[in-house]
Amino acid sequence: MQIYLPIAEISVNIYLLLGIGGLVGVLSGMFGVGGGFLITPLLFFVGIPPAVAVATSANQIVASSVSALMGHIKRRGVDFAMGWVLLIGGIIGSAVGVQVFNILKQLGQVDLLVNLCYVIFLGIVGGLMMIESLRALMRSKRSGAPKRRRHNWVHNLPFKIKFRVSGLYISVIPPLMVGVAVGILAAIMGVGGGFIMVPAMIYLLGMPTKVVIGTSLFQITFVAAFTTMMHAITNQTVDIILALLLLIGGVIGAQVGAQIGMRLKAEQLRILLASLVLLVCIKLGLDLLIKPAELYSIGVLQ
Protein backbone atom coordinates (compact mmCIF):
# COMPACT_ATOMS: atom_id res chain seq x y z
CA MET A 1 0.00 0.00 0.00
CA GLN A 2 1.41 3.35 -1.07
CA ILE A 3 1.16 6.68 0.74
CA TYR A 4 2.04 10.16 -0.50
CA LEU A 5 4.29 12.12 1.87
CA PRO A 6 3.37 15.83 1.84
CA ILE A 7 6.81 17.30 2.62
CA ALA A 8 9.06 14.72 0.98
CA GLU A 9 6.72 14.94 -2.06
CA ILE A 10 7.06 11.29 -2.93
CA SER A 11 4.88 8.20 -2.75
CA VAL A 12 6.30 5.33 -0.64
CA ASN A 13 5.14 1.89 0.53
CA ILE A 14 3.64 2.08 4.06
CA TYR A 15 4.90 -1.34 5.20
CA LEU A 16 8.44 -0.53 4.13
CA LEU A 17 8.42 2.57 6.36
CA LEU A 18 6.87 0.64 9.28
CA GLY A 19 9.59 -1.99 8.85
CA ILE A 20 12.43 0.54 8.86
CA GLY A 21 10.95 2.19 11.97
CA GLY A 22 10.61 -1.18 13.72
CA LEU A 23 14.15 -2.28 12.94
CA VAL A 24 15.67 0.95 14.18
CA GLY A 25 13.39 0.89 17.24
CA VAL A 26 14.69 -2.56 18.27
CA LEU A 27 18.29 -1.33 18.01
CA SER A 28 17.41 1.81 19.91
CA GLY A 29 15.96 -0.14 22.81
CA MET A 30 18.80 -2.66 22.86
CA PHE A 31 21.76 -0.32 22.72
CA GLY A 32 20.48 3.05 23.86
CA VAL A 33 21.42 4.64 20.58
CA GLY A 34 18.88 6.80 18.77
CA GLY A 35 19.52 4.95 15.54
CA GLY A 36 19.94 8.13 13.50
CA PHE A 37 23.13 6.83 11.92
CA LEU A 38 21.12 3.90 10.59
CA ILE A 39 17.71 5.39 9.77
CA THR A 40 19.02 8.32 7.72
CA PRO A 41 20.92 6.17 5.19
CA LEU A 42 17.93 3.78 5.02
CA LEU A 43 15.62 6.67 4.14
CA PHE A 44 18.03 7.86 1.44
CA PHE A 45 17.84 4.36 0.02
CA VAL A 46 14.02 4.50 -0.15
CA GLY A 47 14.29 7.74 -2.13
CA ILE A 48 13.44 10.34 0.51
CA PRO A 49 15.27 13.63 -0.21
CA PRO A 50 18.34 13.90 2.13
CA ALA A 51 17.21 17.12 3.87
CA VAL A 52 13.81 15.59 4.72
CA ALA A 53 15.40 12.29 5.79
CA VAL A 54 17.77 14.00 8.25
CA ALA A 55 15.09 16.25 9.78
CA THR A 56 12.40 13.58 10.02
CA SER A 57 14.67 10.96 11.55
CA ALA A 58 15.38 13.44 14.36
CA ASN A 59 11.64 13.52 15.06
CA GLN A 60 11.38 9.72 14.92
CA ILE A 61 14.33 9.44 17.33
CA VAL A 62 12.36 11.51 19.88
CA ALA A 63 9.54 8.97 19.80
CA SER A 64 11.63 5.81 20.04
CA SER A 65 13.90 7.35 22.69
CA VAL A 66 10.91 8.37 24.84
CA SER A 67 9.48 4.88 24.50
CA ALA A 68 12.75 3.20 25.49
CA LEU A 69 13.50 5.81 28.17
CA MET A 70 10.23 5.07 30.02
CA GLY A 71 11.27 1.45 30.33
CA HIS A 72 14.68 2.38 31.67
CA ILE A 73 13.25 4.89 34.17
CA LYS A 74 11.02 2.17 35.62
CA ARG A 75 14.04 -0.09 36.06
CA ARG A 76 16.00 2.80 37.63
CA GLY A 77 18.42 2.70 34.75
CA VAL A 78 18.73 6.47 34.39
CA ASP A 79 21.24 8.69 36.19
CA PHE A 80 19.35 11.99 36.02
CA ALA A 81 22.18 14.08 37.51
CA MET A 82 24.54 12.80 34.83
CA GLY A 83 21.80 13.17 32.22
CA TRP A 84 21.30 16.87 32.95
CA VAL A 85 25.04 17.59 32.82
CA LEU A 86 25.30 15.79 29.47
CA LEU A 87 22.21 17.59 28.19
CA ILE A 88 23.53 21.06 29.05
CA GLY A 89 26.73 20.19 27.22
CA GLY A 90 24.72 18.74 24.35
CA ILE A 91 22.66 21.88 23.77
CA ILE A 92 25.79 24.07 23.82
CA GLY A 93 27.50 21.69 21.40
CA SER A 94 24.46 21.53 19.14
CA ALA A 95 24.31 25.32 18.83
CA VAL A 96 28.05 25.41 17.99
CA GLY A 97 27.61 22.50 15.55
CA VAL A 98 24.86 24.26 13.62
CA GLN A 99 27.19 27.23 13.09
CA VAL A 100 29.98 24.91 11.91
CA PHE A 101 27.52 23.20 9.57
CA ASN A 102 26.51 26.53 8.02
CA ILE A 103 30.14 27.53 7.47
CA LEU A 104 30.81 24.20 5.74
CA LYS A 105 27.68 24.70 3.64
CA GLN A 106 28.99 28.01 2.37
CA LEU A 107 32.29 26.36 1.45
CA GLY A 108 30.41 23.64 -0.46
CA GLN A 109 31.38 19.99 0.05
CA VAL A 110 29.19 19.59 3.11
CA ASP A 111 28.07 16.14 1.91
CA LEU A 112 31.64 14.95 1.70
CA LEU A 113 32.54 16.24 5.16
CA VAL A 114 29.44 14.66 6.69
CA ASN A 115 30.33 11.37 5.03
CA LEU A 116 33.95 11.55 6.15
CA CYS A 117 32.79 12.35 9.70
CA TYR A 118 30.62 9.23 9.63
CA VAL A 119 33.36 6.95 8.33
CA ILE A 120 36.02 8.26 10.73
CA PHE A 121 33.89 8.33 13.87
CA LEU A 122 32.01 5.11 13.23
CA GLY A 123 35.33 3.45 12.39
CA ILE A 124 37.17 4.61 15.51
CA VAL A 125 34.28 4.02 17.92
CA GLY A 126 33.29 0.67 16.39
CA GLY A 127 36.88 -0.56 16.24
CA LEU A 128 37.79 0.41 19.80
CA MET A 129 34.58 -1.00 21.19
CA MET A 130 35.04 -4.27 19.34
CA ILE A 131 38.62 -4.77 20.57
CA GLU A 132 37.75 -3.88 24.15
CA SER A 133 34.65 -6.06 24.25
CA LEU A 134 36.43 -9.06 22.79
CA ARG A 135 39.17 -8.68 25.39
CA ALA A 136 36.62 -8.37 28.19
CA LEU A 137 34.79 -11.43 26.93
CA MET A 138 37.98 -13.49 26.87
CA ARG A 139 38.93 -12.29 30.36
CA SER A 140 35.55 -13.22 31.78
CA LYS A 141 35.86 -16.66 30.24
CA ARG A 142 39.29 -17.27 31.76
CA SER A 143 38.46 -16.04 35.25
CA GLY A 144 35.12 -15.12 36.70
CA ALA A 145 36.60 -12.34 38.87
CA PRO A 146 35.34 -8.88 37.83
CA LYS A 147 38.05 -6.31 37.16
CA ARG A 148 38.19 -3.21 39.36
CA ARG A 149 37.76 0.07 37.42
CA ARG A 150 41.04 1.93 37.15
CA HIS A 151 41.40 5.54 38.16
CA ASN A 152 42.55 7.74 35.30
CA TRP A 153 43.08 11.47 34.68
CA VAL A 154 39.32 11.98 34.67
CA HIS A 155 39.22 11.46 38.41
CA ASN A 156 41.77 14.16 39.22
CA LEU A 157 39.81 17.23 38.03
CA PRO A 158 38.07 19.84 40.22
CA PHE A 159 34.28 20.51 40.66
CA LYS A 160 33.55 16.99 41.81
CA ILE A 161 29.93 15.88 42.05
CA LYS A 162 28.45 12.69 43.42
CA PHE A 163 26.54 10.79 40.71
CA ARG A 164 24.67 8.46 43.03
CA VAL A 165 23.00 6.16 40.48
CA SER A 166 26.27 5.61 38.61
CA GLY A 167 28.20 5.21 41.84
CA LEU A 168 30.69 7.84 40.73
CA TYR A 169 32.30 10.81 42.44
CA ILE A 170 33.93 12.75 39.60
CA SER A 171 34.35 16.26 38.24
CA VAL A 172 31.52 17.70 36.12
CA ILE A 173 34.03 18.80 33.45
CA PRO A 174 34.46 15.45 31.64
CA PRO A 175 30.70 14.71 31.27
CA LEU A 176 30.09 18.31 30.21
CA MET A 177 32.84 18.00 27.57
CA VAL A 178 31.40 14.69 26.37
CA GLY A 179 28.02 16.42 26.02
CA VAL A 180 29.48 19.32 24.03
CA ALA A 181 31.46 17.03 21.71
CA VAL A 182 28.43 14.83 21.08
CA GLY A 183 26.26 17.92 20.49
CA ILE A 184 28.65 19.28 17.85
CA LEU A 185 28.86 15.97 16.03
CA ALA A 186 25.11 15.43 16.33
CA ALA A 187 24.38 18.72 14.59
CA ILE A 188 26.92 18.13 11.82
CA MET A 189 26.04 14.49 11.20
CA GLY A 190 22.31 14.81 11.82
CA VAL A 191 22.19 12.06 14.44
CA GLY A 192 21.42 11.80 18.16
CA GLY A 193 25.03 10.89 18.92
CA GLY A 194 24.34 7.85 21.11
CA PHE A 195 26.90 5.72 19.30
CA ILE A 196 29.61 8.14 20.43
CA MET A 197 28.18 8.93 23.85
CA VAL A 198 27.65 5.33 24.98
CA PRO A 199 31.32 4.33 24.57
CA ALA A 200 32.47 7.69 26.02
CA MET A 201 30.38 7.09 29.13
CA ILE A 202 31.65 3.54 29.55
CA TYR A 203 35.33 4.04 28.82
CA LEU A 204 35.96 7.69 29.66
CA LEU A 205 33.62 8.26 32.59
CA GLY A 206 33.61 4.68 33.81
CA MET A 207 29.83 4.44 34.24
CA PRO A 208 28.21 1.01 34.67
CA THR A 209 26.70 -0.25 31.38
CA LYS A 210 23.20 -0.75 32.82
CA VAL A 211 22.92 2.98 33.66
CA VAL A 212 24.69 4.19 30.52
CA ILE A 213 21.89 3.24 28.13
CA GLY A 214 19.06 4.92 30.03
CA THR A 215 21.10 8.05 30.67
CA SER A 216 22.16 8.27 27.06
CA LEU A 217 18.51 7.94 25.98
CA PHE A 218 17.57 10.76 28.35
CA GLN A 219 20.09 13.09 26.70
CA ILE A 220 19.22 11.95 23.15
CA THR A 221 15.50 12.58 23.65
CA PHE A 222 16.05 16.25 24.37
CA VAL A 223 18.82 16.86 21.84
CA ALA A 224 16.70 15.21 19.10
CA ALA A 225 13.70 17.35 20.10
CA PHE A 226 15.88 20.46 19.87
CA THR A 227 17.15 19.37 16.44
CA THR A 228 13.61 18.66 15.20
CA MET A 229 12.50 22.18 16.13
CA MET A 230 15.57 23.72 14.47
CA HIS A 231 14.87 21.84 11.22
CA ALA A 232 11.13 22.55 11.30
CA ILE A 233 11.67 26.28 11.76
CA THR A 234 14.67 26.92 9.51
CA ASN A 235 14.22 24.42 6.66
CA GLN A 236 10.60 23.18 6.87
CA THR A 237 11.86 19.67 6.14
CA VAL A 238 10.15 17.63 8.89
CA ASP A 239 7.62 15.30 7.26
CA ILE A 240 5.01 14.56 9.91
CA ILE A 241 3.38 11.69 7.99
CA LEU A 242 6.74 10.02 7.39
CA ALA A 243 7.65 10.52 11.06
CA LEU A 244 4.33 9.04 12.18
CA LEU A 245 4.81 5.88 10.12
CA LEU A 246 8.41 5.47 11.27
CA LEU A 247 7.54 5.99 14.91
CA ILE A 248 4.65 3.53 14.96
CA GLY A 249 7.20 0.87 14.04
CA GLY A 250 9.83 2.55 16.19
CA VAL A 251 8.06 2.74 19.54
CA ILE A 252 7.00 -0.90 19.38
CA GLY A 253 10.47 -1.94 18.28
CA ALA A 254 12.06 0.03 21.12
CA GLN A 255 10.06 -1.90 23.71
CA VAL A 256 11.02 -5.21 22.17
CA GLY A 257 14.64 -4.06 21.97
CA ALA A 258 14.71 -3.04 25.65
CA GLN A 259 13.51 -6.55 26.60
CA ILE A 260 16.19 -8.21 24.48
CA GLY A 261 18.82 -5.85 25.94
CA MET A 262 17.98 -6.85 29.51
CA ARG A 263 18.54 -10.54 28.68
CA LEU A 264 21.95 -10.13 27.04
CA LYS A 265 25.28 -9.74 28.83
CA ALA A 266 26.94 -6.32 28.72
CA GLU A 267 29.87 -7.65 26.69
CA GLN A 268 27.64 -9.34 24.14
CA LEU A 269 25.63 -6.12 23.82
CA ARG A 270 28.80 -4.14 23.16
CA ILE A 271 30.09 -6.59 20.56
CA LEU A 272 26.77 -6.44 18.72
CA LEU A 273 26.71 -2.64 18.75
CA ALA A 274 30.36 -2.54 17.62
CA SER A 275 29.62 -4.87 14.68
CA LEU A 276 26.67 -2.75 13.65
CA VAL A 277 28.66 0.48 13.81
CA LEU A 278 31.51 -1.07 11.80
CA LEU A 279 29.09 -2.40 9.20
CA VAL A 280 27.61 1.05 8.54
CA CYS A 281 31.14 2.50 8.53
CA ILE A 282 32.30 0.02 5.86
CA LYS A 283 29.21 0.67 3.73
CA LEU A 284 29.71 4.45 3.81
CA GLY A 285 33.44 4.09 3.22
CA LEU A 286 32.88 1.96 0.14
CA ASP A 287 30.44 4.56 -1.23
CA LEU A 288 33.27 7.08 -1.15
CA LEU A 289 35.80 4.73 -2.75
CA ILE A 290 33.81 2.94 -5.45
CA LYS A 291 33.14 4.83 -8.66
CA PRO A 292 29.47 5.85 -8.66
CA ALA A 293 27.28 4.70 -11.58
CA GLU A 294 26.16 8.29 -12.19
CA LEU A 295 28.86 10.92 -11.81
CA TYR A 296 26.39 13.78 -11.93
CA SER A 297 23.75 14.77 -9.41
CA ILE A 298 21.03 17.42 -9.32
CA GLY A 299 20.94 19.84 -6.41
CA VAL A 300 18.75 22.77 -5.49
CA LEU A 301 20.28 26.09 -6.52
CA GLN A 302 21.06 28.17 -3.42
Partner: protein, 251 residues
Protein backbone atom coordinates in the same frame (compact mmCIF):
# COMPACT_ATOMS: atom_id res chain seq x y z
CA UNK B 1 5.37 33.06 -65.80
CA UNK B 2 6.04 29.36 -65.34
CA UNK B 3 8.07 30.21 -62.29
CA UNK B 4 5.24 32.18 -60.79
CA UNK B 5 2.82 29.34 -61.50
CA UNK B 6 5.15 26.85 -59.87
CA UNK B 7 5.44 29.15 -56.87
CA UNK B 8 1.66 29.44 -56.59
CA UNK B 9 1.31 25.68 -56.83
CA UNK B 10 3.63 25.16 -53.90
CA UNK B 11 1.58 27.67 -51.97
CA UNK B 12 -1.69 25.81 -52.34
CA UNK B 13 -1.08 22.98 -49.87
CA UNK B 14 0.32 25.51 -47.41
CA UNK B 15 -2.86 27.56 -47.58
CA UNK B 16 -5.03 24.50 -47.37
CA UNK B 17 -3.01 23.23 -44.43
CA UNK B 18 -3.42 26.52 -42.59
CA UNK B 19 -7.14 25.81 -42.41
CA UNK B 20 -6.56 22.81 -40.17
CA UNK B 21 -7.24 23.57 -36.52
CA UNK B 22 -6.85 21.63 -33.26
CA UNK B 23 -9.85 20.91 -31.07
CA UNK B 24 -8.71 19.52 -27.73
CA UNK B 25 -10.02 17.42 -24.89
CA UNK B 26 -8.44 16.26 -21.63
CA UNK B 27 -9.46 13.31 -19.46
CA UNK B 28 -9.03 15.53 -16.39
CA UNK B 29 -8.74 19.27 -15.90
CA UNK B 30 -6.51 18.98 -12.85
CA UNK B 31 -4.38 16.50 -10.93
CA UNK B 32 -5.06 16.34 -7.19
CA UNK B 33 -2.30 14.98 -4.98
CA UNK B 34 -4.01 13.10 -2.14
CA UNK B 35 -2.57 10.81 0.54
CA UNK B 36 -3.05 7.81 -1.75
CA UNK B 37 -1.54 9.53 -4.80
CA UNK B 38 0.72 7.16 -6.72
CA UNK B 39 0.96 9.07 -9.95
CA UNK B 40 -1.65 9.80 -12.57
CA UNK B 41 -2.41 9.13 -16.19
CA UNK B 42 -3.66 12.00 -18.29
CA UNK B 43 -5.50 11.19 -21.46
CA UNK B 44 -5.08 13.90 -24.07
CA UNK B 45 -7.33 13.62 -27.09
CA UNK B 46 -8.52 15.90 -29.84
CA UNK B 47 -9.64 16.35 -33.37
CA UNK B 48 -8.40 18.28 -36.36
CA UNK B 49 -11.16 20.45 -37.75
CA UNK B 50 -11.00 21.46 -41.40
CA UNK B 51 -13.31 22.85 -44.06
CA UNK B 52 -11.88 20.82 -46.92
CA UNK B 53 -10.75 17.22 -47.29
CA UNK B 54 -7.24 16.71 -45.85
CA UNK B 55 -4.37 17.30 -48.28
CA UNK B 56 -2.80 14.05 -49.46
CA UNK B 57 0.54 15.44 -50.60
CA UNK B 58 2.00 16.31 -47.21
CA UNK B 59 2.53 14.26 -44.09
CA UNK B 60 0.44 15.08 -41.00
CA UNK B 61 2.09 15.09 -37.58
CA UNK B 62 0.90 15.69 -34.02
CA UNK B 63 3.25 16.54 -31.15
CA UNK B 64 2.10 16.83 -27.54
CA UNK B 65 4.42 18.29 -24.91
CA UNK B 66 3.64 18.46 -21.17
CA UNK B 67 6.00 20.54 -19.03
CA UNK B 68 6.11 20.89 -15.25
CA UNK B 69 7.10 24.15 -13.54
CA UNK B 70 10.64 25.43 -14.04
CA UNK B 71 12.98 24.91 -11.11
CA UNK B 72 16.49 26.39 -11.24
CA UNK B 73 18.96 23.68 -10.29
CA UNK B 74 22.63 23.00 -9.90
CA UNK B 75 24.13 19.95 -11.58
CA UNK B 76 27.20 18.68 -9.78
CA UNK B 77 29.91 16.48 -11.16
CA UNK B 78 31.93 13.99 -9.13
CA UNK B 79 35.58 13.26 -9.68
CA UNK B 80 38.19 11.16 -7.92
CA UNK B 81 40.35 13.20 -5.57
CA UNK B 82 42.95 11.39 -3.45
CA UNK B 83 41.13 8.10 -3.92
CA UNK B 84 37.64 9.21 -2.97
CA UNK B 85 34.77 10.45 -5.11
CA UNK B 86 33.81 14.05 -4.41
CA UNK B 87 31.84 16.81 -6.12
CA UNK B 88 34.47 18.80 -7.97
CA UNK B 89 32.50 20.88 -10.44
CA UNK B 90 29.01 22.23 -10.89
CA UNK B 91 26.93 24.23 -13.34
CA UNK B 92 23.71 26.15 -12.84
CA UNK B 93 20.78 25.30 -15.10
CA UNK B 94 18.49 28.30 -15.02
CA UNK B 95 15.59 27.15 -17.14
CA UNK B 96 14.65 23.51 -16.81
CA UNK B 97 11.21 21.97 -16.41
CA UNK B 98 10.93 19.66 -13.40
CA UNK B 99 8.89 17.32 -15.60
CA UNK B 100 8.80 17.06 -19.37
CA UNK B 101 7.06 14.57 -21.62
CA UNK B 102 6.85 14.68 -25.41
CA UNK B 103 4.56 12.37 -27.33
CA UNK B 104 4.50 12.42 -31.12
CA UNK B 105 2.74 10.59 -33.90
CA UNK B 106 6.06 9.56 -35.53
CA UNK B 107 9.80 9.92 -34.73
CA UNK B 108 10.29 13.53 -33.69
CA UNK B 109 12.76 14.32 -36.50
CA UNK B 110 10.13 13.23 -39.05
CA UNK B 111 7.34 15.47 -37.78
CA UNK B 112 9.36 18.49 -36.65
CA UNK B 113 11.90 20.58 -38.57
CA UNK B 114 14.94 21.75 -36.54
CA UNK B 115 14.06 25.40 -37.24
CA UNK B 116 10.55 24.96 -35.84
CA UNK B 117 12.04 23.22 -32.81
CA UNK B 118 14.36 26.17 -32.29
CA UNK B 119 11.51 28.69 -32.43
CA UNK B 120 9.08 26.77 -30.28
CA UNK B 121 11.47 24.96 -27.90
CA UNK B 122 9.92 21.51 -28.13
CA UNK B 123 12.65 18.85 -27.92
CA UNK B 124 14.45 18.05 -24.62
CA UNK B 125 17.61 19.85 -25.60
CA UNK B 126 15.67 23.00 -26.41
CA UNK B 127 13.69 23.22 -23.16
CA UNK B 128 16.65 22.70 -20.87
CA UNK B 129 18.80 25.79 -21.01
CA UNK B 130 21.68 27.16 -19.04
CA UNK B 131 21.84 30.90 -19.38
CA UNK B 132 24.88 33.17 -19.38
CA UNK B 133 27.65 30.59 -19.22
CA UNK B 134 30.00 28.78 -21.52
CA UNK B 135 27.50 26.88 -23.64
CA UNK B 136 30.09 24.38 -24.81
CA UNK B 137 31.18 23.23 -21.35
CA UNK B 138 27.64 23.26 -20.05
CA UNK B 139 26.40 20.79 -22.64
CA UNK B 140 27.45 17.73 -20.65
CA UNK B 141 25.66 19.11 -17.58
CA UNK B 142 22.36 19.62 -19.39
CA UNK B 143 22.75 16.13 -20.83
CA UNK B 144 23.35 14.75 -17.35
CA UNK B 145 20.25 16.60 -16.14
CA UNK B 146 18.12 15.02 -18.83
CA UNK B 147 19.62 11.57 -18.21
CA UNK B 148 18.95 11.69 -14.46
CA UNK B 149 15.42 12.99 -15.04
CA UNK B 150 14.76 10.28 -17.61
CA UNK B 151 15.88 7.56 -15.20
CA UNK B 152 13.23 8.70 -12.69
CA UNK B 153 10.53 8.94 -15.41
CA UNK B 154 10.40 12.71 -15.07
CA UNK B 155 11.59 13.17 -18.65
CA UNK B 156 9.81 11.10 -21.26
CA UNK B 157 10.16 10.79 -25.00
CA UNK B 158 7.19 8.91 -26.42
CA UNK B 159 7.77 8.82 -30.16
CA UNK B 160 4.86 7.23 -31.97
CA UNK B 161 2.67 7.34 -28.86
CA UNK B 162 0.15 9.71 -30.45
CA UNK B 163 -2.35 7.70 -32.45
CA UNK B 164 -4.01 9.45 -35.40
CA UNK B 165 -7.21 7.95 -36.71
CA UNK B 166 -8.57 8.76 -40.13
CA UNK B 167 -6.38 11.86 -40.40
CA UNK B 168 -8.77 13.59 -37.97
CA UNK B 169 -8.80 12.16 -34.45
CA UNK B 170 -5.72 11.86 -32.26
CA UNK B 171 -5.11 10.71 -28.71
CA UNK B 172 -2.31 9.83 -26.31
CA UNK B 173 -1.80 9.00 -22.64
CA UNK B 174 0.88 10.62 -20.49
CA UNK B 175 1.94 8.93 -17.27
CA UNK B 176 2.73 11.30 -14.41
CA UNK B 177 4.93 9.71 -11.71
CA UNK B 178 4.28 10.31 -7.98
CA UNK B 179 7.31 12.54 -7.33
CA UNK B 180 5.87 15.59 -9.07
CA UNK B 181 6.62 19.21 -8.37
CA UNK B 182 3.45 21.18 -7.65
CA UNK B 183 2.41 23.79 -10.19
CA UNK B 184 0.65 24.40 -13.47
CA UNK B 185 1.68 21.88 -16.10
CA UNK B 186 1.88 23.63 -19.44
CA UNK B 187 0.47 21.38 -22.14
CA UNK B 188 1.16 22.22 -25.78
CA UNK B 189 -0.16 20.49 -28.86
CA UNK B 190 1.39 21.11 -32.27
CA UNK B 191 -0.06 20.14 -35.60
CA UNK B 192 2.56 19.78 -38.32
CA UNK B 193 2.64 19.20 -42.07
CA UNK B 194 5.97 17.93 -43.37
CA UNK B 195 7.58 19.20 -40.20
CA UNK B 196 6.13 22.71 -40.46
CA UNK B 197 3.92 23.78 -37.56
CA UNK B 198 0.54 24.81 -38.94
CA UNK B 199 -1.40 25.11 -35.72
CA UNK B 200 -0.77 24.93 -32.01
CA UNK B 201 -2.88 24.84 -28.91
CA UNK B 202 -1.90 25.52 -25.31
CA UNK B 203 -3.55 24.75 -22.01
CA UNK B 204 -2.55 24.24 -18.39
CA UNK B 205 -3.16 21.28 -16.12
CA UNK B 206 -2.93 22.33 -12.45
CA UNK B 207 -1.17 19.76 -10.26
CA UNK B 208 -1.69 20.52 -6.55
CA UNK B 209 -1.93 18.82 -3.19
CA UNK B 210 -5.40 18.64 -1.66
CA UNK B 211 -6.95 17.75 1.70
CA UNK B 212 -4.68 16.81 4.60
CA UNK B 213 -1.61 16.89 2.37
CA UNK B 214 -2.35 20.52 1.49
CA UNK B 215 -3.12 21.41 5.11
CA UNK B 216 0.06 19.87 6.51
CA UNK B 217 2.22 21.40 3.81
CA UNK B 218 0.79 24.87 4.42
CA UNK B 219 1.16 24.49 8.18
CA UNK B 220 4.83 23.49 7.82
CA UNK B 221 5.49 26.54 5.66
CA UNK B 222 3.40 29.20 7.41
CA UNK B 223 3.48 28.11 11.05
CA UNK B 224 6.77 26.28 11.29
CA UNK B 225 7.09 26.49 15.09
CA UNK B 226 3.58 25.15 15.63
CA UNK B 227 4.21 22.39 13.11
CA UNK B 228 7.47 21.47 14.87
CA UNK B 229 5.75 21.34 18.26
CA UNK B 230 2.94 19.24 16.77
CA UNK B 231 5.43 16.69 15.43
CA UNK B 232 7.21 16.58 18.81
CA UNK B 233 3.91 16.14 20.64
CA UNK B 234 2.94 13.24 18.38
CA UNK B 235 6.38 11.68 18.90
CA UNK B 236 6.31 12.04 22.68
CA UNK B 237 2.73 10.76 23.02
CA UNK B 238 3.41 7.79 20.74
CA UNK B 239 6.56 6.92 22.67
CA UNK B 240 4.81 7.17 26.03
CA UNK B 241 1.74 5.25 24.81
CA UNK B 242 3.84 2.36 23.49
CA UNK B 243 5.74 2.18 26.77
CA UNK B 244 2.53 2.23 28.81
CA UNK B 245 0.89 -0.38 26.58
CA UNK B 246 3.85 -2.73 26.96
CA UNK B 247 3.88 -2.22 30.72
CA UNK B 248 0.23 -3.36 30.82
CA UNK B 249 0.96 -6.30 28.54
CA UNK B 250 3.75 -7.51 30.80
CA UNK B 251 1.53 -7.49 33.87
Amino acid sequence: MIRLLAFLLTLIPAIAAADEKIVLGLSQDEVSITASFTGSEILIFGAISRDEPPPQTTELGVIIAVAGPNVPVEVRQKDRVAGIWVNTDSAAIDIAPSFYAIASSAPLTDVLLPLEDLHNAISWGRVVRAVGQDAFAINEYTEAYMRIKQNSDLFQLLEGAVAIEGDTLFHTAIQLPSNLTEGDYKTRIFLTRDGHIIDSFQTEIPVYKVGIERWLYNLSQNQAALYGLLSLLIAAVAGWAASAAFAILRR
